[in-house]
């Protein structure tokens, strides 16, 4: 890990350790869940060059699976999260096999359409309770001893999940697998001619991204004790694209910063109703036209250090 990234990681860790003293912890937990979600998404677009417009399906599916397992089947939180993450992974495998048959714009449209299909399924399926969602999900006792109803226990758990996910993604990006992925992004034909099984690499990246997005969704369901249609809707898929774009596509820390900015913005603009959508749209347009490197990308470029 280059020194600049070590410092950034330390700053990020210290921030999440100290911030609850000044900021509402539920807000920070929300930010961490979305940061993990955005990092998982970035793994696919930033390093695999695949723009998924349906990532909400993994967030939402894991949320529903976790909430259902914890509430109806009485799973312990660690198993509920595991179950939710596994459900997202399974969905990732099935949709991945279909979506990676096309690239570029088609890939985006296919993932969007598949996610919309999943959305309609959840809209009709009885176990999701439609518009109400699965409410009052019990947080339970982690490993049978830690009561997650305690906000600090929950905070510590979310922080552990977030950093574990973040470091795993970091490891993946910098592994030989990640290097091959980047090669495929840069020039797929050449990667094929070098003998790499491109389809398998792409599928594995997609699967990893789906699984980690699921981990974020599963954790989020326990934090808010709720799984709802919002998390499967296409606007959520758009939001994670926005977070990553704003933070910096293909940067290590960008998605975290982007998620934090967007969540903060939504928090303060919530009373403005539909203006939130307008502001989000405007950020998209500005980022694409003038600010394609994103916040962290620009910062790294200015410091001439990878971030």
């Amino acid at each position: 890990m280059p020194r600049s990234q070590k410092i950034a990681l330390g700053v990020m860790f210290a921030f999440f350790l100290a911030a609850p003293l000044a900021v509402y912890p539920v807000f920070l937990m929300k930010a961490m869940c979305f940061a993990l979600f955005a990092c998982a998404f970035n793994l696919l677009i930033g390093f695999g060059g695949l723009l998924s417009f349906g990532h909400a399906m993994f967030l939402g599916t894991a949320g529903y699976a976790t909430a259902h397992a914890a509430k109806v089947w009485g799973f312990a939180p660690e198993f509920a999260i595991l179950f939710g993450t596994a459900a997202a992974a399974l969905l990732g495998l099935v949709t991945g096999l279909l979506a990676i048959r096309r690239q570029g714009i088609y890939f985006a449209m296919i993932t969007l359409a598949l996610a919309q299909m999943i959305y309609f399924y959840y809209l009709q399926a009885p176990f999701t309770y439609g518009e109400d969602g699965i409410q009052a999900v019990p947080r339970g006792m982690l490993f049978g001893v830690i009561d997650l109803a305690n906000i600090w226990a929950m905070y510590g758990t979310v922080m552990a999940v977030f950093f574990a996910g973040f470091l795993l993604i970091y490891r993946v990006i910098h592994s030989p697998f990640g290097q091959v992925l980047k090669a495929i992004r840069e020039n797929e034909q050449r990667a094929i001619s070098l003998g790499y099984d491109v389809t398998r690499y792409k599928l594995l990246a997609y699967l990893l991204s789906a699984t980690l997005a699921g981990l974020a969704g599963a954790t989020k369901a326990l934090v808010f004790q709720l799984a709802s249609l919002t998390d499967v809707h296409w606007s959520m898929s758009g939001e994670v694209v926005l977070m990553t774009l704003l933070g910096g596509l293909g940067t290590v820390f960008g998605p975290v910063v982007g998620a934090f900015i967007i969540i903060t913005m939504e928090n303060y603009l919530a009373q403005l109703g539909a203006w939130v959508t307008v502001v989000q749209g405007a950020i998209f347009v500005i980022c694409v036209l003038t600010f394609r490197r994103g916040v962290v990308g620009e910062l790294g470029n200015w410091l001439k250090k990878p971030l």
Binding site: R102, I105, Y106
Partner: protein, 304 residues
């Protein structure tokens, strides 16, 4: 003696009353008209700009809203709207292309998708602020009120008009692109813009006008939809996702392909509503998945 309420074979097919079956097929054909018009516009834009126009649904909604505003503020009726709205909304498309999209042609095509997605959010958000989420009614033109009894079903005149008019516009577009000189320039520019430019044709202007035309098609569909569905800011948001699936199924290689796929999928959706209503929302996506398994380039497409 026959029981008075026993249905005969003529009245039902597979246990479904004929009236209901044809009613749903008609609705399917109407939806298919909109799928065809919208996917046609997407295909025309994609052909030349290599951009998937995510704003298409919002521009369809703008078409309906401009028609509504012309009626309520200026007293201009349906027929005026049908002529004026595509021009007005198409012009906004020209502005968008000149100011924004034209800056992105040298970049990865995904940026075009992201930009148009952002524009769709802005447009839909602005209209939602102004008009809320509930639908606004738009009157049907008096000339097309009522309907006729075809013996096996009742056919409202306006719905018949929608099908005929969109079929006409689709085939007209196909004719212009495939059979005229202008269309041949367009197709040539799709293949090799640099070469066409070298022959003295103003390719950038052609690109601008093509985008404007694709947007105008969406606006035209919006005006046609206004009397059937209510006019609301969200009317295009979910529709555009279905149209994306239609585009993936058809493949964007052929103009005729997108027209045929649009109508056919509308009909299939209508049939699903009759025989298995639970799947009517998802049937198009399921077909997309099946097509991807066996013919990833789409039914009429070629893998690029």
């Amino acid at each position: 003696m026959r029981a008075p309420f026993r249905t005969t074979a003529m009245d039902s097919i597979f246990g479904v009353p004929v009236q209901a079956l044809f009613g749903q097929l008609l609705i399917g054909l109407i939806n298919g008209s909109f799928y065809a018009l919208l996917s046609l516009g997407l295909a025309v834009i994609f052909g030349l700009l290599n951009i998937i126009n995510f704003t298409h649904g919002a521009q369809y909604m703008m078409g309906a809203f401009v028609a509504y505003l012309l009626a309520s503020k200026a007293g201009l009726g349906y027929w005026w709207s049908l002529a004026l709205v595509p021009l007005v909304v198409g012009f906004t498309g020209v502005v968008i292309e000149r100011l924004m999209l034209s800056k992105l042609y040298r970049l990865d095509h995904l940026y075009g998708l992201l930009l148009t997605f952002g524009l769709a959010l802005i447009i839909q958000g602005l209209f939602r602020n102004e008009y809320g989420t509930s639908g606004l009614p738009y009157a049907m033109p008096a000339e097309l009120a009522g309907g006729r009894n075809l013996g096996f079903m009742f056919l409202p005149n306006y719905r018949a008009w929608v099908i005929v008019a969109s079929l006409g516009v689709c085939i007209g577009t196909w004719f212009v692109i495939e059979k005229t000189k202008l269309g041949s320039y367009l197709r040539a520019a799709t293949e090799n813009p640099a070469l066409v430019q070298a022959f003295g044709i103003n390719v950038p202007r052609m690109i601008t006008l093509t985008y404007g035309f694709g947007v105008a098609l969406a606006a035209f569909a919006g005006v046609m939809a206004a009397p059937i569905y209510q006019v609301s800011p969200q009317m295009g948001a979910d529709l555009i996702i279905v149209v994306f699936a239609v585009v993936v199924i058809g493949g964007m290689g052929s103009i005729m392909g997108s027209i045929v796929t649009g109508f056919a999928l509308g009909l299939i959706e209508g049939l699903t509503k009759v025989f298995y209503p639970e799947a009517s929302n998802t049937v198009i996506f399921i077909i997309m998945a099946i097509v991807l398994m066996f013919k990833p380039a789409g039914l009429f497409g070629s893998q690029k």
